[in-house]
């Protein structure tokens, strides 16, 4: 056994083993780089990205019932829900909804606590802005949802 190890050492077999592995990986099929922005990664369905306020597709009215559970669940207290009581139906109607994604951790606690299907974290991850103004989303922006980014260069 000692002779075998000695021969392995002399003929640099351990070094050749490593060399053969790196050589094999030169195959273009092994390349793992994605050329963003030409290829955008497809994220999973449960991905916690940009939030969105869902609207009833038939009536166009918001699904949010202003129960304020999302604001209470948020660890950072960055959701502000303002509502007023409708004198006719005696139910709360949503007036203002603000979501500050500059402090958001995308933890998903708000999405889980929503009692209707209103608040949802979508699969949009391209939400960078050039200044702080674009990071405080109001109700209209949230109902519009992800807008997709087009890169020219």
């Amino acid at each position: 056994m000692r002779v075998a190890t000695l021969l392995r050492k002399i003929f640099l077999l351990d070094l050749l083993k490593g060399l053969s592995l790196t050589f094999r990986y030169q195959d273009p099929k092994e390349i793992y780089t994605e050329q963003y922005p030409l290829q955008r990664p497809q994220v999973a369905e449960r991905y916690r990205g940009l939030p969105r306020l869902n609207v009833n597709p038939e009536t166009g009215k918001t699904l949010c019932i202003a129960c304020d559970l999302c604001a209470k669940a948020c660890p950072e207290n960055l959701i502000v829900v303002e509502s007023e009581r409708d004198p006719v139906t005696k139910r709360k109607v949503l007036t203002k909804y603000t979501f500050d994604i500059s402090r958001c951790m995308f933890c998903g606690l708000c999405e889980e606590s929503c009692s209707t299907d209103a608040l949802e974290l979508t699969q949009d991850y391209e939400i960078a802005q050039y200044g702080r103004e674009g990071l405080v989303l109001d109700r209209e922006r949230l109902e519009r949802g992800p807008e997709g980014k087009v890169y020219e260069r």
Binding site: G18, T22, F23, P28, I31, L38
Partner: protein
Amino acid sequence: MSTQFTQYLQSTLTPGQAGNMLWATIYILVIFAGISLCVVFINWGERKALAHFQIRLGPMRVGPHGLLQPIADALKLLLKEDTIPANADKVVFWIAPFIVTTAAFVVYLVVPFGPQHAVTDMNIGILFMLGVSSLGVLGIITAGWASNSHYPLLGSLRSSAQMVSYEVAMGLAVISAILMTSFTPGVASGTLSMIGIVEAQKTQGVWFLFKFFPLGLIAFGVFAIAMIAETNRAPFDLPEAESELVAGFHTEYSGFRWSLFMLGEYAAMIAVSGIAVTLWLGGWMRPFPNLLAGSVWDTIFSLVPGAFFLFLGAVTLYGTARMPKHPALRIQTLGLGVFGMAIAAVGLVLLVPAVRVRVQDIFWFMIKVAAFIYMYIWYRATFPRYRFDQLMRVGWKVLLPISLGVLIVTGVVGLSPELLTWLKGVL
């Protein structure tokens, strides 16, 4: 002057031997420009090859497939602010990169790209090469000294200690190759001239790599390892490693001065690869010059350079066809197509008989050197680096005894016919 120009075209000697100053100058300028161009290509090639070993792509944006990346790097380095440390010795600081680069380039005076394609053929060629390449160590020490900071100084001392210790092993390996030149039957003595060494391999009909197998191979192996340590490349690159405390002798150098160090390092890499190719791999000779002799084989092998460039051009044009059809990449696709056609044009020019006869020696030499450079990059991708004391141990305790042993055994084996006749005479 014009007679000097035309008269040389008839001769079969190097410009130095023919005493032709004009052509010697032309050769020097061509070599300087050519090696600088090679360094640019090696820079691109290293980044792409290293990236492919690491299953990624490397530069892709700066030009099609990153081909303009070295130019962007060079521009950035030229435009960078030239900082000099406060209490540094300004003259020495200025001179150090030039010493390193000059030592690396002066070596090319004797590198034989072909039987008449060397600037000169000194009869002490190999000695000259070893001596001048050692002058680079002076540049490194002065660079560390002039930086006036003890980390570059320590780094430069370590670097120079490493280079000096591996030069001993390198020198002994070289001696055993030179010893083999003296075993040509019918020749009185061996030769130190670079062209003479390749001629000896041609006459003996075997690359010194395979002579007295495995002695030539072991000597070549010792030289291959020593030359990596000589040029401070992985796995012997502790003095310039990024994850170490001491960033090496070129810490305080920025911009153009640093690019001179880099130029010197890559030029030294090509130069020592050139020495290895000359001494063991048959220099400029095409494969099997004696086995597959005759004008038919000569013609076939002389078509190889042209075919090689045509193949490269075809690969580039195939890459152009496969580029993504995005409007942002239109200019890149066009550029790549033009580049591909330029390479193919070079290939066509190399097929012309008048050109290919003269150029094929250079081609075979450069192909062999390119294989060595590829090995450099391959080692860098694969191996971790040695710690400094382990590095010195390998140089002194492993390589030196092996090369001494190989030298002695080569001498005994080579002289064995004479030894046997002497023994028979005595007994």
